[in-house]
């Protein structure tokens, strides 16, 4: 893939991410006549939730379910809207002047927009158990991606471990696709059922209630479930061989080829953080999320965030939040076109409906501390630099007060993933060890490139006299 000839040098709106929020936002601003560019890293639209919606080999909904089909409408609406789309294109930089650094087919470009809507969605929360770096251990999201985009199911003995709606959905999908699951290890802390019960009324009136119960029933009929799991350890020499588990006083082990882990999703904040957008700790969802106004405006003028990247709300609310951001954009850049797009009130109402039941899910599936903060000293926290929990604790003992001094001491977060897979663990571990809140401990200070680009690409960015003088000085 490479930059098309038709690409403009500047846009009214650049939307980053082609999941539900990005598709809805870009379609809405384009319908209002704003010159819109939707950029996405994947080759096909849909984001993670509607991954491969236009290309999946699983043509009917019998395996993936009706909810997945909803992605088709979003893609069709987008395609009719007149927005430009850049697929297979990585955004590696975003600055306060809304200049977006793009990389496509080994070429880099800078494109400026009046508005930038970040819709980079969610990523799965790190699940740092002993042995989670072994080949054969992967996330449930990864398994589902392989299913949606290539129709793949695990061969050999499979177990799922963790908690959350995705676990049950994927389990059901695997069974429907003819796969077999040896066991499911449910890590939902039993106390969560009590804290969640307070939010049950909202949940009962949400569509999740019947859908969720149905899925769980479907899976429980076919798979052995171990509940109240309190410890997991993946073992094996060069690949996964055995999962050792504890559930209170019960213990056991099971030989496996594939172990899939999942304990919810968190906002994928790297791009927004690197742009300098203010974030805060969400004590319920246990993650950092950007500080936004109701429309999605961030602390940097002209940069908005929509969808799960703004705080986890699920696919349907992501689309509505994408529309809200778009409406605000149209109101500012082309107010006379507001009549052509959905009204703010309608979108707000639909958003409120889609958020029903969220509090129940947040409380029920709040992951337990033992699976967020590794207790075993040898558990790897930073997968890229292979730094363990014990090494992090030792760094705290000699004076590291936060993630950035830790990074200097141990290189955590300096690898290619740039902290995506360790940052939350690092922050929570340091907070726990130091008796501080995650907010006080803070996050890695991130900078572009948020994704690696080649030196040749960086060298091709336009230079100027001042820049040359700052470097070439005899």
């Amino acid at each position: 893939m490479s930059f098309p000839e038709s690409l403009h040098a500047a846009y009214d709106v650049i939307v980053i991410g082609a999941g539900p929020a990005g598709l809805a936002a870009a379609a809405t601003t384009a319908e209002a006549g704003l010159r819109t560019l939707l950029v996405d890293e994947n080759s096909a639209p849909g984001g993670q939730i509607y991954r491969a919606i236009t290309t999946s080999p699983l043509k009917n909904s019998s395996i993936l379910g009706k909810d997945y089909e909803a992605g088709n409408d979003l893609v069709h609406t987008f395609e009719k809207s007149g927005a430009d789309r850049l697929a297979g294109c990585t955004v590696w930089s975003l600055d306060r002047e809304r200049v977006v650094g793009l990389s496509c087919g080994g070429e880099a470009r800078l494109i400026k927009a009046e508005r930038v809507i970040i819709a980079t969605g969610a990523m799965e929360r790190p699940f740092p158990i002993p042995g989670w770096t072994l080949p054969g251990v992967m996330t449930i999201g990864a398994g589902q991606t392989l299913l949606k985009s290539s129709g793949l199911i695990p061969s050999g003995r499979l177990a799922l471990a963790g908690q959350g709606p995705l676990l049950w959905l994927y389990a059901a999908q695997i069974l429907r696709a003819g796969g077999h699951i040896a066991a499911i290890f449910d890590t939902t802390p039993l106390a969560n059922y009590i804290s969640a019960a307070l939010h049950l009324p909202g949940f009962i009136f949400s569509p999740y209630w019947t859908k969720g119960l149905g899925l769980i029933r479907e899976v429980k009929r076919a798979v052995k479930i171990v509940t109240g799991v309190t410890r997991l350890e993946a073992q094996g020499k060069n690949k996964l061989q055995t999962l050792v588990w504890e559930a209170g006083s019960r213990t056991g082990s099971i030989d496996l080829d594939v172990l899939m882990l999942h304990q919810g999703v968190v906002p994928h904040v790297n791009l927004a953080m690197a742009a300098g957008i203010k974030h805060e700790w969400d004590a319920i969802q246990l993650c950092f999320r950007p500080v936004l106004d109701e429309s999605g405006n961030s602390s940097i003028k002209g940069i908005m965030i929509a969808g799960d990247g703004a705080g986890i709300g699920g696919a349907e609310s992501a689309a509505e939040r994408g529309r809200l951001a778009a409406i605000d954009t149209v109101a500012n850049l082309r107010p006379d076109a507001l009549a052509q797009i959905p009204s703010r009130d309608n979108v707000r109402n639909r958003l409120a409906q889609t958020m029903r039941g969220r509090a129940f899910l947040d409380h029920l599936y709040r992951p337990s501390k033992v699976f967020r903060i590794p207790q075993d000293a040898s558990t790897i926290v930073c997968r890229c630099e292979e730094i363990t929990a014990g090494e992090i604790r030792a760094s705290i003992a000699i004076g590291a007060t936060g993630p950035n001094q830790l990074k200097a001491y141990r290189r955590t977060g300096m690898g290619p993933c740039q902290g995506r897979l360790c940052s939350l663990t690092v922050t929570e571990l340091m907070a726990d060890e130091r008796g501080k809140s995650p907010e006080e401990i803070g996050y890695y200070r991130l900078r572009s490139p948020v994704k690696p680009i080649s030196l040749a690409e960086l060298a091709s960015i336009p230079q100027d006299e001042t820049a040359i003088k700052a470097v070439v000085r005899g």
Binding site: G151, P154, K239, G415, L421
Partner: protein
Amino acid sequence: MFKRATNHQEPAVQITVDGLPVTARRGDTVSAAILTAGCVEPYRYTAVNGTPRAPYCMMGVCFDCLVTIDGIGNRQGCLIPVSDGMVITRQNGKREIES
């Protein structure tokens, strides 16, 4: 590690992985093709301690799917679709460069 759940209708794509011929399907990413081929394990060895790894997230965030594609090292196999004739090499440690 993976197999096809359905009678796959997508056209075949021929690639090589470490010199071995592998038949993938259009729509597969490089990582999906390697995980399905089953002939090559482990997927890679890390640049830091040389430990074995395989793709973990399949959505572009973990960088455990790094492979050499058509001579260019450290590419995210989970984001790149296969194409006919693609030459894929597993990585053993640090990135290698040629002058």
